[in-house]
Symmetry: C2
Amino acid sequence: MDNKQISKAVIKRLPRYYRYLGELMQDGVERISSNELSEKMKVTASQIRQDLNNFGGFGQQGYGYNVSFLYNEIAKILGIDKQHNLIIIGAGNLGQAIANYTNFERRGFMIKGMFDVNPRLIGMTVRGIEIYPVEQLERFIKENDVQIAALTIPKERAEEMAEKLVSYGVKAIWNFAHTDLNLPSDVVVENVHLSESLMRLSYKVSNMKK
Amino acid sequence: MDNKQISKAVIKRLPRYYRYLGELMQDGVERISSNELSEKMKVTASQIRQDLNNFGGFGQQGYGYNVSFLYNEIAKILGIDKQHNLIIIGAGNLGQAIANYTNFERRGFMIKGMFDVNPRLIGMTVRGIEIYPVEQLERFIKENDVQIAALTIPKERAEEMAEKLVSYGVKAIWNFAHTDLNLPSDVVVENVHLSESLMRLSYKVSNMKK
């Protein structure tokens, strides 16, 4: 199977399929039809069939989808069947909130350490994850094979820090700073811009009332 | 101007225009051409012209866009020219991180209070915002004209809490719980699913390496 053929829109929807399939497995469901899945996910059955047909031969007429098989295939496509080492830059509330998500580890994202410039935070731990000074970043990234850095620092310092991280070998930035990072094209950036999410919500509320 | 005519895709991009225009204003820039804006935002100039033409007559040939006018018009469309009262359900790290964002207030989102079930947190404040017991939710929502609730509680309790909030008069849920909420169609839901964001990042990293 060639991942390259799968459209961006489908990829965007895969994590949601993955979540529903995981919940079905927890409930002991072994197989499910596109109609049943459609009802649960509030997506049309034809959309589901189209999306999942991308992976070829998972569904069978009269049988439906094998839940755990599909779950594992989607994990492979998303690359979460392998371990990814992650660090968190910025040990404030948001950084600590991320460190506290045990779910990420279940999906193969191992949080190796947190980093901060505030000397009062250095040496503290969050759920066993230690906070280190930023001066140790370069060595730490190399010694721990860190691929992903979550950036939860103010936007003023985000770009400079991201460039440093990339020069130390980080391949992907999970960017919570409210700015766009201009990085080399072989660096992956996934933005979480909370202000923009809140503005979209505001738009929907404002247009609801009319 | 009828907001209804603006496509969803354009609305999704508006917060980003808003952010760049705000930064230009801070830098004292009064007008900008679509070409200059294009270079800054890494979007084609024709995309910018198409998007902004939706609002009619903002740009003028040979003059460009009036930055503050456009900024204010976008604010109106997004509904952030008015005040929205917001509460945070769940005073853990993520709830506290949200309470600490001063940016939200500058955009008209006033955080009126936080709520938690943990008795040890009750009465504490985060940046002057008090944490109240959930028993006071109904009265608080009515007395403070609360429209928006940020939901930063575990997914197991999210749906039940969301239904309560709606019954108390909340019109919009900013949902950080990793589950889909099934609410009446006149309730606005904006999801921030961090796990899914991280999986999309994982997908991009996995496909980068090949």
